[in-house]
């Protein structure tokens, strides 16, 4: 491997991946984020290159890929960039989630050195209903409802965009559908949910959730980069537990509330605080089991979750 580009590198996940790749001396690591250089220097490990790039601007993306990426001979692109605040919607957010993914895929195809494109997707792309499987395989139906929030629709569209590129381009594309990552500043809705003193949950429902630690997410991304296999992979976590257990292990109080009240209550909370948890985004995961079948990732990538979350998660 001659080098790796990491978008969204200033998140804890991106920084941890950069540190891991540096530790394994996997060639130059080019980190990309929107933060100023000084801020990025605080979170990124030593020895990595950093580029401040606004991925919502096509010109910036082109300059990145045909500039530093080509110069460094990057062989793998790890696309982690996503908006961290679920309350934000609109064209700019869509451009970051979907258009930037599409453009980076297209341009990566034009760079001879790039052989692998790893796209981080989410368990939220799966259609989670009572008539669907409790354990999602990679071929499970996707959430294509037009009534789904933009946060979900964007993720599905980016996921499908990456999938559509498989076999049609030169670059091998790996889509990693990750379980909910429990970490701050990565756009984790579960983190935000468990950060509240009281976690409101639908009365009478206690679904199974799957939680991914940063260490396991890094291991999965690294496996995808080094293996270079294309395809869709579910990336499960080492913690599969009922929602109520996650709340208890986080040291929070669970307050069961009738489902119809949860939407307004969490909207009110988002309006008066800096919490971005959205009930409409997570409604199905708070009602029905949402566990990933990670057998394919184990067979092809050799990835198996081995790092459980340390409960209570720090800061949660």
């Amino acid at each position: 491997m001659s080098g790796v580009l990491i978008s969204g590198a200033t998140t804890p996940l991106g920084a941890a991946l950069a540190a891991d790749l540096r530790a394994h001396d996997d060639g130059p690591v080019l980190c990309v984020g929107v933060e100023a250089d000084e801020l990025a220097a605080d979170v990124l490990p030593a020895g990595v290159d950093y580029q401040r790039v606004d991925l919502t601007r096509p010109r910036h993306v082109r300059s990145l890929l045909f500039g530093p990426v080509r110069r460094l001979g990057v062989s793998a692109v790890v696309h982690l960039a996503a908006h961290r605040d679920a309350r934000r919607e609109g064209g700019r957010v869509h451009r970051l989630h979907v258009d930037a993914t599409r453009l980076m895929l297209r341009l990566a195809d034009d760079l001879p050195s790039v052989r692998t494109f790893v796209h981080r997707s989410s368990v939220l792309v799966y259609k989670n209903r009572t008539d669907q499987a409790d354990v999602f395989r990679e071929d499970a139906p996707l959430e294509l409802s037009p009534r789904a929030p933009q946060w979900v629709r964007d993720r599905v569209e980016a996921d499908v965009t990456a999938c559509a590129h498989m076999g049609t381009g030169r670059v091998r594309v790996a889509v990693l559908r990750c379980a909910e990552l429990l970490a701050p500043d990565v756009g984790s809705q579960l983190w935000d949910y468990l950060s509240g003193r009281v976690c409101l949950r639908p009365a009478g429902f206690d679904p199974m959730i799957e939680v991914l630690s940063v260490a396991d997410a890094v291991a999965a991304l690294r496996a995808a980069v080094t293996h270079g296999a294309g395809g869709v992979f579910n990336i499960g976590g080492a913690d599969v537990l009922p929602l109520s257990s996650a709340i208890r292990l986080s040291g929070r109080d669970a307050l069961p509330v009738p489902g119809p009240l949860l939407g307004p209550l969490y909207r009110l909370r988002a309006a008066v605080s800096d919490r971005s948890f959205r009930y409409d985004v997570n409604r199905h995961l708070l009602h029905f089991n949402g566990v990933l079948d990670g057998r394919r990732a184990a067979e092809v990538l050799g990835y198996r979750p081995t790092h459980p979350v340390t409960w209570p998660a720090p800061g949660a």
Partner: protein, 303 residues
């Protein structure tokens, strides 16, 4: 925030929560409840049952030993005292490998399914967990869905079937579906439309089909009518039972000789509609025969 205000808030919170615990009283552990009502030997079987524990005491579907124990406790009175379930031929249940138990469905409320699971939990030759397949709308019912999944029930999607049979589990299905449970008094002990899905899945996974007849459930809760326009939680109709409580009928469960699909067909035959239909017809005929055997053997509805 001043210290005094923080202290006041802390006191209020402690008063509300009763300490550091949750805002609402914690529900008792399933095992603790079960110890009060379930005999020790039945409870001991729960520990011997296979559970694909993913680290927190639950499998991917939400089943737990506490939930199984709670299921035993919930069904104890109904099984031993109300319906006085008599089990015949449970030795036919294989001790290993994937199994599909197929049964006739009746009784307005799915108590027949509960009693089948209670029977397998208590009396199978080797402790095995019966995974009852429930209709989609059950998953939308608060509390019920959680109690059911903790005790091993699963939603009826094909992917769930595949996964559990892949792991060699025991699945309990009613090929008649809601047509069976909602049929009128005049059609009692008549098998309704018999779906083929169980046969196809048994073929694909080389699972053994165990036919089972439930005798007595038809009389447990006769139906006066139904509200076809009322779809609470997505249920196809709301039944109007003739009695506020199920009648204390004597329930008989008749297990038939297993149909060892893998000995005669290969997994590829699951793609052949004729073979699938043939296997489904065989399971239907076996259940039909067991129903008549059971009806002939019983001495009375309540006896």
């Amino acid at each position: 925030m001043t210290d005094a205000r923080a202290s006041l808030l802390s006191r209020v919170r402690r008063r509300l929560t009763g300490g550091a615990g949750p805002w609402l009283p914690k529900l008792p552990d399933g095992r603790a409840v079960a110890r009060w009502v379930v005999p020790v030997d039945e409870l001991a079987r729960v520990d011997a049952m296979p559970l694909r524990d993913l680290g927190h005491g639950y499998d991917a579907y939400g089943m737990s030993r506490g939930g199984l124990a709670f299921g035993l406790a919930l069904s104890h009175v109904l099984y031993h005292h109300w319906f006085r379930v008599s089990s015949h031929g449970i030795g036919h249940l294989p001790t290993t490998g994937p199994v599909v138990v197929v049964a006739n469905h009746s009784g307005t409320l799915p108590l027949d399914g509960l009693m089948i699971c209670a029977d397998i939990l208590r009396r199978s030759p080797v402790p095995r967990v019966p995974r009852a397949v429930v209709d989609y709308f059950v998953g939308r019912m608060p509390v019920v869905n959680t109690v059911f999944t903790r005790a091993g029930a699963i939603g009826g999607s094909r992917a769930n079937f595949h996964d559990l049979l892949d792991h060699g589990e025991v699945i309990v299905v009613f090929p008649e579906g809601t047509a069976g449970i909602g049929k009128g008094w005049d059609k009692r002990y008549e098998l309704q439309r018999w779906t083929h899905g169980h046969a196809e899945l048994a073929l694909r996974h080389g699972a053994t089909i165990v036919p089972l007849a439930v005798i007595g459930a038809e009389e447990q809760l006769p139906q006066l009518g139904r509200l076809a326009w009322l779809h609470a939680f997505g249920a196809p109709f709301l039944p109007i039972p003739a009695s506020p409580l199920p009648l204390p009928v004597h329930l008989h469960l008749w297990y038939g000789p297993p149909i060892r699909v893998a000995e005669r067909w290969s997994p590829d035959d699951a793609h052949d509609p004729e073979v699938v239909a043939q296997v489904a017809a065989q399971s239907r005929a076996a259940v039909h025969q067991l129903i008549h055997q059971g009806l002939r053997a019983r001495t009375g509805v309540f006896a």
